[in-house]
Assembly symmetry: C2
Homo-oligomer: 115 residues x 2
DNA sequence: CGTATTCTCAACCTATCAGTTTATAAGCCA
DNA sequence: TGGCTTATAAACTGATAGGTTGAGAATACG
C-alpha cells in the first residue's frame, strides 16, 4: 500500500505538470486548451493529465467531446501539509543556524547540537 | 536550465528518501546509521543520499571515515513556499466548493465560475 | 448518413531510476 | 605495514517515465 503522497510528489516533479496545475488554478480548462499551451503533442498532455488525475491533483469530467479539467485544492494542500511537518526547522533561530552551516558546508564536520 | 524544484519534488517522491529526511529532522546522522534503518543495501542508501544532496535537501560533511548528513531547512521550506502559491484555493468558501465538486465528480460537467 | 472535432488508447523508443553485486577509496588502529 | 571500518564508485538489471506516431472512440453537425 504505497503512500498516496508518493504520486503527488512524482506528479509535481515534472515542470509541464506544474504548469498545467498553475493554469488550472486560474480556472477550469479542456484538454485541448491545455495542450495548446505546450510544445508537445496532445497525446503527451493527455498522459500528463492522467498522472495528475491518478495523483488526485485534478478531476476530469466529460462534456460532449471535450474533457474539462479542474484542480483539486485539497490534494494540492496535502503538499503544504507535508511540508508543515518541518516548519519548526526553519523558524526562529534555525534561520541563522542554517545560513551558517550552509557557508561552512565542506568543513567543520562537528555534528549539530540538539535543540 | 531546469528549475531546481524539479529535483526537490523528484527526491521527495521516494518514500525511503522522505523517511531519511524525517530521521534527519530529529538530528544529524551518519550514512551508516541511516543505512541501518532500511532493508536495502548501504550502497542504495548512499545513492539516495546523493539524490537528496543534489536536490539541496541535505548536506554531507566528512569526519574520518564517517559522513555526517544534515537536513537543509531552507530547501525543505521551498516545498512549503511552492504550495503556498495555491493557498487561496483551499481557503474560505473553497473548502465547501471542493467537497461539493468532489462528490459530483463524474457528472455535471458545467465549468466552475470564476471567484 | 458521413465528416469534422476532440480526446484517449496502444505500441514503440530512449533515458532514467531503484536496486543489486563487485570493487575501491579513505581513515583508524594494532 | 596490514587489516578493519565506513562509505562511495562502477557496472549491470528490470521497471518506469516522457516523448513520439498511428489508430480509434465519442460526439456534434452538415
Amino acid at each position: 500500500m504505497p503512500d498516496p503522497i508518493d504520486g503527488v510528489f512524482a506528479a509535481l516533479a515534472d515542470p509541464t505538470r506544474r504548469a498545467i496545475l498553475a493554469r488550472l488554478a486560474t480556472g477550469d480548462a479542456t484538454a485541448g486548451e491545455l495542450a495548446a499551451d505546450f510544445p508537445i503533442s496532445a497525446q503527451a498532455v493527455s498522459k500528463h493529465l492522467n498522472v495528475l488525475e491518478t495523483a488526485g491533483l485534478i478531476v476530469r469530467t466529460r462534456e460532449a467531446q471535450r474533457r474539462w479539467c479542474r484542480i483539486v485544492p485539497a490534494q494540492v494542500r496535502s503538499v503544504a501539509d507535508w511540508a508543515s511537518q518541518y516548519e519548526r526547522l526553519w523558524e526562529e533561530r534555525y534561520d541563522a543556524l542554517d545560513d551558517y552551516l550552509g557557508r561552512l558546508q565542506q568543513q567543520q564536520p562537528k555534528p549539530q547540537e540538539e535543540p
